[in-house]
């Protein structure tokens, strides 16, 4: 195809642009999450993450003090600056720019800065762009009015979300629980499957073909079927909902793929080496440990990555086989059942929690992509 594209400069450009658009489409949602996790809470709810690098109009309110009022020709006047409010001073250390203001909470940006407007209960008010305001009332005010205004706020990035998620929201516990589920659930099936795969690939015994067909068949059994009978079984034999239970479950569910992948790989190892070792008097156990395991490292690594990602990302098995209390919640359950309910509107927290939960898989993915691809190819391309 490149012969043709090479002749046709326009086609080349078109291909580049199409791929660029597709990559952006695939990447943007994740970038949005990443950017949002670093944004200030007020900024998230007032401008989209794509506007994160720009200043944003945020709403503020200030209560005008009445003690500075003076009388001028029958009118009471209060003057001041909204940015002088001690509660807002930290937000605007060098003053700010008011773009709009209002006198009612429901419409904080009703009037443009500099335009005079009527005050409820008589009188007029104006806020200028530099924040200075002037209130004129026919009678002396006993209670200062509350002024609402919109001001440009510079982009603000913060680690506060991470602080909340990691140290206050129980996500640290969930992170450790996820690790506790994941690591044994990755290593144990590899060990078991490697021995079985060796037997299926290099040992002669009756019924071998049938067993391989059975493994291929079990590859697609939906694990929904296993939930009820196995939870029942776990309860009956005293394991119940526990870490031990979920390790066993993950081991069982991961085994078909593990045996299948590893057997496919081991069958392709050179026959000479194995037979040579047998002639030299090595036992099957020795051959397995000294020759097969080291040679199968790429396949073991690919399956390890699969199983790791799968157990780390799993929600269903964790929901069923682990108790639902905070002490044993894994991150996916924590996010789906806990945070989405209790902090459904707190986008900063949600984004951060999601990012914390996908950070480790992403790291594994980008550092070990080669093995992952190799494993996928071994499992699917025939």
């Amino acid at each position: 195809m490149d012969n043709i594209a090479g002749q046709n400069q326009g086609g080349r450009v078109l291909v580049n642009i199409t791929v660029l658009i597709l990559v952006l489409l695939w990447l943007l949602p994740t970038i949005g999450l990443f950017v949002s996790s670093f944004r200030d809470r007020d900024q998230i709810s007032n401008s989209g993450w794509w506007q994160a690098p720009f200043a944003v109009d945020l709403n503020f309110r200030t209560r005008v003090a009445t003690d500075g009022a003076r009388e001028e020709g029958g009118v009471f006047i209060i003057e001041g600056n909204v940015f002088a409010d001690p509660a807002l001073a930290s937000e605007f250390p060098e003053g700010g720019v008011v773009s709009a203001y209002g006198t009612r909470a429901v419409e904080p940006g009703e009037f443009s800065a500099g335009d005079q407007s009527e005050l409820r209960g008589g009188g007029t008010v104006v806020i200028n762009t530099d924040g200075s305001f002037r209130i004129e009332t026919p009678e002396e005010l006993t209670r200062g009015p509350t002024l609402y205004f919109e001001a440009r706020t510079p982009p603000k990035f913060t680690l506060a979300n991470y602080n909340t998620v990691l140290f206050a929201d129980g996500m640290d516990r969930a992170f450790i629980n996820t690790l506790t589920v994941t690591i044994p659930a990755t290593i144990i099936p590899i060990l078991i499957a490697a021995f079985a795969a060796y037997a299926l690939a290099w040992m002669d015994f009756p019924g071998r073909g049938l067993l391989i067909a059975a493994v291929v068949g079990l590859l697609v059994v939906p694990l929904q079927l296993a939930l009820v009978p196995l939870l029942r079984l776990h309860t009956d034999i005293g394991i119940g909902q526990s870490f031990l239970g979920i390790w066993l479950a993950h081991t069982g569910f991961g085994l078909p793929l593990a045996v299948y992948l590893l057997r496919n790989y081991m069958v392709g190892l050179p026959r000479d080496i194995i037979e040579g070792a047998k002639v030299d008097g090595a036992t099957d156990f020795q051959i397995f440990v000294r020759i097969i395991l080291p040679l199968s490292f790429p396949a073991l690594a690919s399956f390890a990555i699969f199983q790791f990602l799968w157990t780390w990302n799993d929600l269903l098995v964790a929901k069923v086989f682990l108790p639902s209390g905070a002490a044993s919640q894994v991150m996916t359950v924590k996010i789906a059942d806990d945070l989405l309910g209790s902090r459904g509107g707190d986008w900063g927290i949600l984004a951060t929690a999601a990012f914390v939960s996908i950070a480790v898989p992403l790291l594994v993915f980008f550092t070990m992509q080669r093995y992952l691809v190799r494993g996928l190819l071994a499992g699917s391309v025939k």
């Binding site: 597709l22 081991t251 986008w347 190819l377």
Partner: protein, 325 residues
């Protein structure tokens, strides 16, 4: 005991137990039951070698049998009983389910998922594999599109919750809608189409998988066939559809069926995004509404999923047997 320590200890016990089983069972077999010494050394070695495959296979077979084979039967059996598990009601659960309109919606939606997700993921995967094939930055592009594979369904759902948010200051879709003068709406509450918005999340995840495999298959096509077609005056589309696609059709089928199977299992997306509201239930999420409440119904739904998977399972076994010959 702090949880970290507890975790490490259990890891050591679990892994140690596994290694220990294989090591000591082989040791016992070789040294105690059939020792390779004394007058019957030769016979003992042969006998030990007959037993050893089963020693190697036992844990895997046991776990597979218990965790995957037994549940097929166990679930079916349980689905024939009522909620309490004491009364045999035959196909009662199935009949009740099919009379529920929400179940029929779930079946219908699930069929939509099974048709749309594998088709779209394979299409995008093939498209991207072909387009990036000779691109100088093709590998980077592929790596980035492959990335969602590593993200959990829950994480992906959250990512897309941001995209789909009804608030134009959070959801980019509604931001675009409002900027061109349309009213903001919640895409997830648009009946019927909301299913497709959910499906797209899975397409987003699975396209990378399809792309990686199809890209390798495309590279495996003999160069001569493509060159010959070009010399004969085929345009790029003809080369792609008439020369390349027919040669990788086997791989396309494998990718398609693999994604189909996955699609039938994914419950996380619906659960996290809509909880099955607004007519978006699919069978796996529908099953979870009965899980912990009515085991009879839950297993019946699970068995319906199994029936949907069955054709692919049979096809897979046939293919595997063909290859072994």
């Amino acid at each position: 005991m702090p949880p970290v320590l507890q975790g490490i200890l259990t890891i050591l016990i679990g892994v140690g137990g596994c290694v220990g089983y294989f090591y000591f069972s082989n040791l016992v077999l070789d040294k105690v039951i059939f020792p390779a010494k004394g007058p019957q050394a030769g016979r003992n070695i042969n006998r030990a070698n007959q037993v050893r495959p089963w020693l190697f296979l036992f844990p895997a077979m046991f776990a597979l049998g218990l965790y995957l084979a037994y549940p097929v039967v166990g679930s079916f059996w349980r689905s024939l009983f009522d909620r309490s598990g004491a009364n045999f009601i035959g196909l009662g659960n199935y009949i009740d389910l099919f009379s529920e309109s929400s179940f029929r919606t779930a079946v219908f939606n699930n069929l939509l998922w099974v048709l749309f997700v594998p088709a779209a993921a394979t299409f995008f995967g093939l498209l991207i594999a072909q387009l990036t094939d000779r691109l100088s930055w093709g590998n980077i592009a592929k790596s980035l599109i492959f990335m969602p594979m590593a993200i959990s369904f829950v994480g992906a759902s959250l990512i897309w919750k941001f995209v789909y948010s009804a608030n134009p200051d959070i959801g980019i879709i509604n931001a675009i809608r409002t900027s061109i003068g349309l009213v903001a709406l919640d895409p997830l509450q648009v009946r019927f189409w909301n299913n497709f918005f959910l499906m797209f999340i899975l397409v987003w995840i699975q396209t990378g998988f399809a792309m990686v495999i199809l890209s390798a298959a495309l590279r495996g096509i003999p160069e001569e066939t493509v060159e010959a077609a070009i010399i004969d005056g085929a345009n790029p589309f003809q080369v792609f559809f008439k020369i390349k696609v027919p040669q990788i059709i086997g791989t396309i089928v494998v990718v398609w069926t693999t994604i189909t199977i996955l699609t039938l299992k994914v419950f996380d997306i619906v659960y996290t995004m809509t909880g099955g509201n607004f007519g978006t239930h699919i069978l796996p999420s529908y099953m979870m509404t009965y899980m912990f409440r009515d085991d009879g119904r839950a297993t019946a739904v699970a068995f319906v999923i199994m029936i949907l998977v069955l054709p692919v399972m049979i096809w897979n076994i046939r293919q595997a047997r063909k290859e072994m010959r």
